[in-house]
Each structure stands twice: as C-alpha cells, then as structure tokens.
C-alpha cells in the first residue's frame, strides 16, 4: 500500500514487505511475518498480555499464511502516547484499530484469531466490515463477564470481583507507576524498585491496564453476537474461570454460523498451555 504523502514511508529491509507504515505499525507494534502470498491471519492478544502469547501457535501457520501480530495500545511495545481515553473507552475503539491495521496493509479475506477480550473485539470488527473477514477463531470468548441474574445469564463474576481485580492490579503495578516513580526513587530503603523489572513480557502501562480491565470486564456485547455473519470457531477450554463452559455455550448458541470445540486444555490460555491442541483444532476447522 503506497502512501505517497507519508515521509516516513521508505522501503526498510527489516520489514518483510518493504513498507513500514507509520501509523498502525508503530501505534500497534504490528509485525508481519509468514508467507507473504498466503491468506492473512491476524492474531489479537487478550487482556493482560501482548502478542508474545501467540509465539507457540502462530509459527505453525507461517508456511501457509501471512501472519499479522500486534499489540493493543497500552500493551507490549505499542505506542503509549497513542492511548486516548475516549477512543478506548469501548471495545469498538479497539475494533477500529484492527480495521485500520487491515486497511493500511490492505488485508482481505482475513482469518482473525482473537483471544479472550479480543475475540469480542474481532466480532465487532467483523460486523463493521464483514467483507474483509473470512473466518474468526474465538479463543475463550465471553460477551459478558458479569452475571446478570435477572436475565438468567451467568458470566462468572460479580461487580465486586472486578473491583477486587482492580485492587489486585494496584498491588502489582505499584512499582510500575510512573506517577509514583519519583517517590520511590527518593526512598533509599527500596533501591530495587527503580531497577528493570523481571517480568519483561506483557508489560502494560498500569493506568491503561486498569482502564482496559474496566472496558474488558464491564462490556456487554451479547447483542452483537447475533449480528455476526462471518463463520466463527469457538475454542472453549476446560475449567476456564474467566470464560466458563456455560459462556462458551452461550456464545455458540447466539452466534449464527459458529462451531464450538472443547479443548482438553485447562485455564484461560490454551495458546500457551496447550499450543498443539489449539493448533490442531484451528487447522481442523480452517
């Protein structure tokens, strides 16, 4: 895709396709690998992590697909300064980012693989521009994390649980807080707090992490499922507290043209805990 008026738009040997897009590439730390002529496969990481979480799954498709990985703004190597309270106050904002990535790289006939909250983000994007999407793989999707007793909906959490998560984030991000840094630095008793942190993957700006957590866990996209026209594969893990079985069933029941596959993998991240099973399931369906 030519962008003649973009001065930064020069061929770059480090990029497999010769172009470095100045907008989404930098904003979302987009990486393009795999087979340049293959069908595009876009991997979207879920809440709490970054594109690294696909490292055990994505390579399996490198021969057949053009692999597109990226970080949501606020996560991983994304451009923190691009974070906009208003834009990212709903999942639609994140969905727009995905569509912009597709536009900038002229990606069509896309297989979209979304984990956790990104499964729903992908659904929103596919509703908005169905012509760009061929298939969706939804890994541990949930349209609503909070229980709605009056509607007989079990999402797995209460509002208080989400508040507890935010506390938990506070505890864990304490040392990362940019606003707190000067205070900590001035404290000779805790010199180690100023050092590089060991948990180097999945770095997240703490303020954004809290906001993203709110958007993720307080969204309600149940009504959007019905509007999806793209074929979708639902990968449901065993014993997933974030997206329990009943949520997977709900998504399957309310999504037209969807396939539900149960994995033996436990927990919320089969792409890490059971990459082979995940890959097999995806290949079988694709």
């Amino acid at each position: 895709m030519q962008m003649p008026d973009n001065q930064g738009d020069v061929p770059d040997a480090s990029e497999p396709y010769g172009y470095r897009d100045m907008r989404t590439t930098q904003r979302n730390a987009v990486t393009l690998t795999g087979n340049p002529t293959g069908q595009p496969m876009v991997f979207a990481h879920g809440y709490g992590c970054d594109q690294n979480m696909w490292r055990l799954v994505a390579p399996a498709f490198a021969d057949t697909h053009r692999l597109v990985l990226f970080d949501h703004v606020g996560n991983g190597k994304s451009d923190l300064s691009a974070y906009d309270d208003d834009r990212y106050s709903t999942l639609e904002g994140y969905a727009r980012d995905i569509l912009e990535i597709l536009h900038e790289h002229d990606l069509r006939d896309v297989v979209f693989v979304g984990h956790s909250v990104s499964a729903m983000i992908g659904v929103l994007a596919a509703i908005e521009e169905p012509e760009r999407f061929a298939k969706l793989v939804l890994v541990g999707p949930s349209p609503r994390y909070i229980n709605e007793p009056t509607e007989d909906y079990v999402g797995g959490f209460d509002r208080a649980d989400i508040e507890s998560l935010l506390d938990s984030l506070d505890s864990n991000y304490l040392g990362w807080s940019s606003t707190m840094a000067p205070v900590i630095m001035g404290n000779p008793d805790r010199p180690e707090l100023g050092e590089e942190l060991t948990n180097s993957f999945c770095r997240t700006d703490p303020d954004i992490a809290k906001k993203f957590a709110r958007v993720t866990f307080l969204s309600d996209n149940r009504d959007d499922l019905l509007r999806l026209r793209t074929p979708a594969l639902i990968l449901q893990c065993s014993d997933d507290v974030i997206a329990p079985d009943c949520v997977g069933d709900y998504v399957h029941k309310h999504t037209p043209n969807s396939t539900l596959m149960r994995l033996n993998a436990t927990g919320h991240c089969p792409n890490l805990s059971a990459p082979e099973e995940t890959i097999d399931a995806m290949k079988a369906w694709l």
């Binding site: 809440y47 998560l165 938990s168 205070v183 993957f201 999945c202």
Partner: protein, 826 residues
Amino acid sequence: MTQELRLPWDEDPDDLYEHAPCGYLTTLPDGTIVRVNQTFLTWTGYTRGELVGHRRFRDLLSSGGQIYHETHYAPLLRMQDEVHELAFDVVCADGRQLPTLVNSMLGRDESGQPRAIRTMIFNATERRQYEKELLHARNIAEASERRVRVLQQIVADLAAAPTEAEVAESVVRAPEAAFGAASSSIYLVDTERDLIVAVTSTDPTTGNWDDMPRSSARAVARVAERGDLHVVASLTEAKQHFPDLVESMRRSGRNTVVLLPLTTGPTDEHGGVVTLGVLAFSFKGEHKLTDGELRVVRLLGQQAGQALDRARLYDDARRREERSKFLAETTGALDEVHRLQPRIHRLLDRLVPEVADWAEVRLQVGAVPIEEPKGTPAPDTELLMKRVAKVAASGEPIFALEGDPLDCSVLPLTARGLVLGTLALRMAPDRRDAAGERVFLSDLADRAGLALENARLYEQERQIARTLQRSLLAGDLPSGDNRFAVETFYQAAGQDLEVGGDWYDAFLITVDKLAVVVGDVVGRGIDAATTMGQLRSAVRALASNEDGPARLIEGLDRFCERVESARMATVAYAEIDLTTGEIAYCCAGHLPPLLQEPAGSPEFLMHARSAPIGSRAGNLSRTEHRRRLSAGSRMLLYTDGLIERRSRSIDKGFEILAREYARRRDAPLQGLAAGLADTLVGKDHADDVCMLCLSLGTEERIERTIGADRMQIALLRADLRTWLVAHGVGAECRDAVLLACSEAVANAIEHGYRDDPFGMIDVVATVTDDAVEVRVTDRGTWRGPLGDVSRGRGLQLIRESMDQVLFDRSDGTTVTMRRRRGEDDQ
C-alpha cells in the same frame, strides 16, 4: 574459594522445606497442588489433606487475584518459565486474606514439556502495609496536585463567570473535586433584604434550604457574620456550637461540615472583610482537613468572594441597562399601535412573561371600564380588588413584599395628574423581588399611563371622526330622476389609520341643474373630518344657478380665510344642465375627472385646472370649462387614494385607471366604482378611496357586456330597469322585459358557458315608441336539447313574457326578444 561454615547441628533438608521462612507449593502445570510445606499451612490454616490433590493454587486466591492469575501469572509463567514478585491475596481457611508475594518457576521434562511449577510464597503483610502507605502517600500527593488543579480550574472558571449564578455554579462543584467532599451548597448574602439565601447545591436533599435573616443563630449566618472559616469536625462539635446543623448532619450521614465565608476586601485584617456568601461542604464520616487543605479552602473563599463581588457589580450594571432598554423598547412598541385595546395588549405582551407571570391593566375612565389580564395563574380576586381600589383612590403604588398573600404589586396608571386605572403585576419567578424593582416599576407605570391615556384620547377622537364622516357621507343623494344616475363609493384606509378628509357630494341646485363634487381635505383625524363637513356645507351653500363652478371655488378660497384647516384642500366640482346635457367643471388642485362618452375612449378632463383651495403660492385664477356631453356619458370623480400607490408612478396610475374604466364602459353603473377600487387598490390600502360616478342622460339604446357570472345578472337588471324607467316603459312591460332578459342571460350562463366561467355576454336593448327589443348574445356552445327541465321553465318564461322570440345559433347563440309597450306607458 571460601569454605562453607559448618553448622553446629545437622540441617535436616525436610525440616528446612517444611519450616522454611516462606511457603512452598509444588503444583502440576494446571495448578493442582501436589506438595505444600508446613509454613504455608500454618499461615493459611489449611490442612495438607485439604490442599494436596484437591485444590489448585488459583483456587486459593481472591476473586480479583484469580483473574490476575489467569490473565497475567499463567501466561507469563508459560512464556518465561518463571515469574517474580507477583502480589496475590491468599484466602485463608478462615476467610482472612493473607497478602503475599509469589515467585514461581516452571519445571520442564526432557522433551521440554511443562512438568511442575514450584512456587515460593512470602508473607508480605508488612511490605504490603508499607506499600499501602506508599499508595496512600501517592494518593495524597495526587490529591494535592488535584486540589491545585481544581483551584486553578475554578479561578479560570470564575474569571469567565459574569453572573452570581454562574459564580455559584462554579464554586459549588469545587469541594467535591478538590477535597472529596460528599456535597456542598452555596448561600448568598442579600444585603437589600437582610437575608441569607441558599442558591445552589450539589445535593439539595441535604441541609436546610430556608432563607434566614442575617442575624439568625444558624451556623451559616454566624460564619457569614464572623467572616472566617469554620470547620465543624464532628457531631459533638456541632452539638456544642451549631445545634441547627445536628439534625441535617444526622439525616444525611455527615460528620464533618466546613463553612467557608466567601469574602472580599483586604485579607490580612478582618475589619475590612465583607462576606458575600457562604460555601458549606460536608464529608461522610469525620474528615480531618490538613493544613494544606485548609490553606486551599481559604484561598477558594477569597477567590469566590472576589468573583461574586465582580459579578454583583456587573449584574447591577447589566440589570440597570436591561431595565432602561426594556422601558425604551416598551415605549417604542406602544407608539407603534394607536388604538387603546391594541396598546393595552402590546403592554401586556411586553410584560408577560418577561417581567411578570401575571399582569392586568384596569382602566376606570371612559364609558366602559376595561379589564385586561394576561398570564396565569390569576391572583385572589377579592384581595386584588381591595388593593386596586386602594391604589386607585390614593394614586400611590403598593408593592408586593416578602410573604404578601396577594403577591402582586399594584401601580396607578396616571396621566396629566389623573389616575386612569391601575397596573397589577405578579413578578416573574426570576424577578420576584418587586420591592427591589420599585424604581423600574414606577417608571414603567408612568410611561404606560401616558401611552394608554393617549390611546384613549386617540380612540375617542377617532370614534367621533368616524361618526362625523359617516353621517356626512350618508346624506341623501338625488336619485329617481331618469336623466342621471349617481354611484358613489367610499373605502376607509387600512385598519388603525385615522379617518381621512375625502368626501363626495351630489345635489340638485335647481330641478334641472345637478352639482357633483369630490374633494380631499389635508390631514387626517377629527380635524380633517370636521373641515370636510364644513367644506361640504360651504359647497352646497355657495352653489347657485347663476355663478358657475369658478365663482364657487373662489368662494371656497374666501372660506379658507375663516376656516384655516380648509386651506390646501383639493376639489373637483361640476355642474350639469340636465336639459341640455352641458357640463361646467373646475378642478382646484384635484385629480382630473375621467369622462367616458358612449362612443370613444375615456378622456381625462384637463381643462379649468388651478391650485388647491386657499393656496398662497399657486394659481388662484379660477376658470371653468364647458362642454356638451352626449346621453349615456359617464363621468368619474375620485380622490388620489384610487391611483396613488407607493409601488407605481402616478402616470401609471392614470393609465391603469383609464384602461380599467374603458374595460367597464358597458358594465352596469351599479358596482362600477367598487369594481374599480377592487382592481386598482385591493383590500390592503394605505389611503382612503372616494369615488363618484355620474351617468348622464338616457341612451336610446343600452349596450352592456357582463361576465358569465350569475351574480352579475342583478347588476344588469338594475341598469336595465333604470333605463326602462327613464324611457317611461310601464311596469308590466318592464317586469316582463326584465324577466325575459334575466332568463336569457341565465340560459347563456348555464348552457352556453357551462364550461367557461370567463365567457362574456352582450346585452343590447332598444326602445321605440311602441316596443322594447332586447338581444342577448353569447359565444358559448350549447349542448343537448334546450328543453331540459330546469332551463325549460326559463325558456317558457321568455316565450310567455315576450311577444316575439327569435333564436339565432349561427355564431354562438343570439336570442332576440320583443314586446309591445302596454297602455300604462307614459
């Protein structure tokens, strides 16, 4: 290489594992606990049996921790095989939460598959406590920063807040943003009424919203009086110092109330400080304000006070300006309408709802008392009547005071020292303070009184003028003489304009001499009407058989010496000798008469022109012009209202008049003038229109053309009747001819022109010594047999009433009817 120091006893590795200073957990990759040490069990209160093989590490975490575990811990561990210092709250057997820090390592087998997770758990109670303090410190730092930001924002807002209300709105939101207060309210000091009034609040359900006197014992009033910040830190303190706060604090669950006077004036000494209002804000639970916060609070009070002071001055100036603008506009608006009732409505429209939500004008003078209310709801009638009577009697206004049961101010409407009536108002909610608007209201009533009195006088005068004019123009005009016929028309100018000075007149000087006149007096109103009457009488008195028009106009010139208001009046005057058909006319500054002789085009009579009556600079040599008119001539006298329009030149007016007049040359005389007025002037006219049309002599042969409109049959009949009478045709024959002619025309309309509303019908009648012949011609297409039921009777009537009837259908249809004159003919 240093040598390891030998311990004095043998370290048992199992004991070291079990009683290490940290918890150990070994779990399967899915988190299922397979081994746990005693330290962890001791800390958490679980038994080994409860955990091993039954629980996963995840299960021991708080719900938020579980999510964090799934979204952060587990993926991280898989990716980097170890995680460090993650904070989790472990839920103990008794439900207590144990703050911990967790390090985990993922062990893999030879093939690289995850085999087990080893987790070390540190009791982080102390550290987490410390971190909480850090967090707290951060929050304080952030709060301080936020306070400064809020204050900056408020100072910026205040600078842009031009009114008290906007200042109050800006300030009232500050305590929540800056100090985390639960709610806050603003009270303003009203020095004029010596009150303190609550104006706005973020939560109106708290606190006492009644107005209070400045001397009140209530906390707000006391603080306003002292002019210094007061913090009521607890219910106990409130009980001691401000019992009035206790109840509302209890009710709304507040334990700390801050009362901040909003002050202006020098800040260092208390003497010069003026309190303009009080900001009260409160906290749920007892809230200790730090010195830093108190400094900011005081600063807020000063900033808000200054802004209030500025807003008040600004409000004052603006209100003064608004009032004078309103008064000026009201006076202007009232001047635009002249009549009384519209002026009263104008006044009420100005007042309601802008100034008052209810207002009423009562006028006691004049034949019928006027009572015009506007707005809702109406106040108590009995109370109102009492107050109105009092004000009408004393001529002094009574203003509604605080708590007035009537809630209405009543002001006298006076003019020239006389009380005409009263103006009662209940002020609009935003200007309730009638007492504060005394000057404004009095000024308003003064202007209204004068305006209404003027309207009343105008109304009176207008009424008299109209009556006078109507009585003058209604005088009997000569008729019944078959040698002439006179048609007159008068149309007053558009509504609300004063009566004009146009007039017409026709009278017989002798049995054989007819005088016709149309004139126009300068000006409008009662003076013009009176002068018109005087001139009209003067013309009648001056007209004589011998003198002629020129002498008569000279007489009018002399008349002006005594009746100044007649000066510059214009007159067109003509005398007609009914035996010879000779006309003598004279135009004194008036528009030329328009003559239409039976043969030829219309002609303006341009001779014998001179200056208006009594003109000082104009040509006063009065001459007259004589000419003989053939029988059937029509002469039109008119005033300028007929042809003068702002949108066209007077030449154009003459041209149109001549054209329209010619077009109607064959139209019946009756309705001719009205038709002209309709075409030339229309209904919306700015001037009076006055016309007199004289039809002279008897035509031997009458030719009329009428439109295919059943309404016109009666007009034609009237003309024909006059003509038949003039020729001495007897009643029986006349009735028969009229009937036959009407039926023939009706046939033409209903049959010939059934599809053509614009068709024209020609009627020609001739009279000889022994017969009357009428010919009715249309150019329409008759369809079907003539003998249909309804029209059949018409044809039958024609045949029965006439002696000879002839139909010619060669070009349209011509019915020729003839009847012999009877014995009763003259």
